[in-house]
Symmetry: C2
DNA sequence: GTCCTCGGGTGAAACGTTCTACCTATAGCA
DNA sequence: TGCTATAGGTAGAACGTTTCACCCGAGGAC
């Protein structure tokens, strides 16, 4: 295993008495080479444990077979289940096609040094999947009309032609609103994530649906859950909502974690779920099933979304498609945290 | 942004009327070049948004400035908080030195095609951090005495010289045992992760400590928590433990998730924590603080471990060190899930 | 016998850097 | 004057592939 010089294509060629081209063609499964020669080459390759130099290959072929996944700059972001589920989907799909996945975090260095474009210019990666989702990430508009392969995951920019794939947040909001309204709730508090366009879309559609059902401005309040959509943020937002309207009988959280924070607030104030207050989340993370009571939520198939996003990026590489603007369906999951409104 | 040919060092050289070497030296901050020329070149670089081709650079310099992080083949592994915390630490440290992080999963393809070594041979990465931790990953012993830069993270092989860095699981076990014994517990159930050497070390040291305190074989039982150390596994193991010894007053879980599963089992059987049964975990994941009651645990600084592991790998690159066998300290975190044994 | 085709293979340019060895002009010094 | 040192810069080999254009020989068609 320890050797001074690594084996190169030249060594293989010499040993087999063929040209470099022949070895290269064999390695790339080109049918020009006869069975006999092919086997001789392959045997030699195996014998030496030869592996093509990735840089030489990338230089000559102008591709890297690597994709970059960009996540936002949050504390310990890779420990976040939301991003983790998506990344898992991306990885698995990429792996199927022998693509590698490179990590990137959209921190200030990444933005200021324009790493987001340099990584493509330098050919380090063939394309990017951008999960980092903030309404502030406006620099991405630079990709409009660019030749680079690029896809936003569960995130979009209004009035932009950037490729994206995500779940249908507006339908999500409608299903959630209909569920709570159907249970008779007339005083609802919304905990919104306001730093993404999808979060805003969810909030606005949810409120619009409630208004359409006859709830007035005071009957459906919203509060910001904070920029990291955390349990703590949900806890705090719930406090504020109850302070403004003590008659609230349902809390709609923009994601499950904030929903769990809301449950915690409600429990610590000796209210019963769902008898006194119903709570809903969004995403259906595994934890949602294990809360007491189980959390009613709208399932967003994050893993599948990751897979699909990666699939579309690969399709862009292949030229099978040239744009992508796609939303995936969502599904209401009723558990025990929602029930008829207290009368 | 859209151009036919990307700018190369040649374009810059031509525009500035200097040689390729000069441009290259400027880009690598070599002091040979005068301030004047340097500025001229840098201006041109900036103007064209020039970025060196990563493959050309890698080919010439024989490095890639990329490290690979290998995690085990679990379902949706990147959504796992344990690995997520470590990966976050690794990423942040790598980022400080402008290294990139590539993901790998130790699935059957990875093992059978010997990707673990090919990725190094092909120069795709300069080194590897192996978080994938199973006693079955014996193929890694192939790295003993190899020239490749390689480090096991929170994982070790007995009787092996492989580099590693992790926390001190034996000390962890001693602190946990002393805490429970000190509270008067004399019937203890251990939920162990048995598919890692660290998990086995924890179990064995914990039991040894209890025996040393006078507990006999029946008084300290252990049960396997399953290969993914999950909440469900902890739940099921707890059931078995109580079936064997209904007198148990304390459960020691090999990680927090299994501990949370244990708590769930205990709650659903109308026992009180800690009045009837004390429960302890290991790791101190953020969730441990939010359980009811809060989970007593041994804090393993996973993020810091990731950072440290990456730091050591970089030190191996630089040649500052040539081996690494290091354990990090752990700390008992007492919350409300443990209390005096019921008499 | 000549021309075509085609299977199987080769030669060498191209990809875009890094880096060593070398060059030149000028200054300093005895 | 001749010698050395040095600052500033250059030429070109090397890195290890891919791939296009080309070659050769054999078989078939006419």
């Amino acid at each position: 295993m320890a050797q001074g010089q690594r084996t190169t294509i030249k060594d293989i060629a010499k040993e087999c008495g063929v040209s470099l081209s022949t070895v290269s063609l064999v390695l790339n499964n080109n049918s020009r080479i006869s069975e006999k020669t092919r086997n001789r080459v392959l045997a030699s390759v195996k014998k030496h444990g030869y592996q093509p130099n990735i840089h030489a290959r990338g230089l000559a072929s102008q591709t890297s077979e690597v994709i970059s996944v960009v996540v936002p700059h949050l504390n310990h972001v890779f420990a976040d289940i939301y991003f983790g589920e998506i990344v898992s989907g991306i990885y698995d799909r990429a792996c199927d096609d022998n693509y590698k996945v490179l990590l990137d975090v959209a921190n200030s260095k990444f933005v200021e040094s324009q790493e987001y474009i340099n990584i493509l210019k330098s050919r380090r990666v063939d394309g990017m999947l951008f999960i980092a989702s903030s309404i502030e990430d406006d620099y991405l508009r630079a990709f409009e009309g660019s030749p680079y392969k690029f896809l936003l995951v569960n995130h979009f920019f209004p009035n932009s032609s950037l490729n994206f794939l995500g779940v249908d947040y507006r339908d999500s909001a409608r299903q959630a609103a209909d569920h709570l309204l159907g249970l008779g709730h007339r005083n609802i508090g919304v905990i919104a994530g306001t730093n993404t366009h999808t979060g805003l879309a969810f909030r606005d559609e949810f409120i619009a649906r409630c208004r359409a059902a006859g709830l007035d401005e005071k009957a459906v309040l919203w509060e910001d859950g904070g920029r990291d959509w955390s349990q703590e943020g949900g806890f705090e937002a719930t406090r504020k909502l109850f302070a403004t309207n003590p008659a609230i009988t349902a809390i709609m959280a923009g994601n499950d974690r904030m929903g769990i924070g809301a449950m915690r607030y409600i429990h610590t104030h000796n209210l019963k779920i769902p008898e006194d207050v119903s709570v809903m989340g969004v995403d259906d993370i595994p934890q949602a099933k294990f809360t007491t009571p189980g959390l009613t939520t709208i399932r967003h198939e994050l893993y599948q979304m990751g897979r699909a996003a990666c699939e579309r990026l690969l399709a862009l590489f292949r030229g099978d498609i040239s744009t992508c603007h796609e939303v995936l369906p969502v599904k209401l999951i009723v558990r025990e945290s929602t029930g008829p409104a207290k009368t």
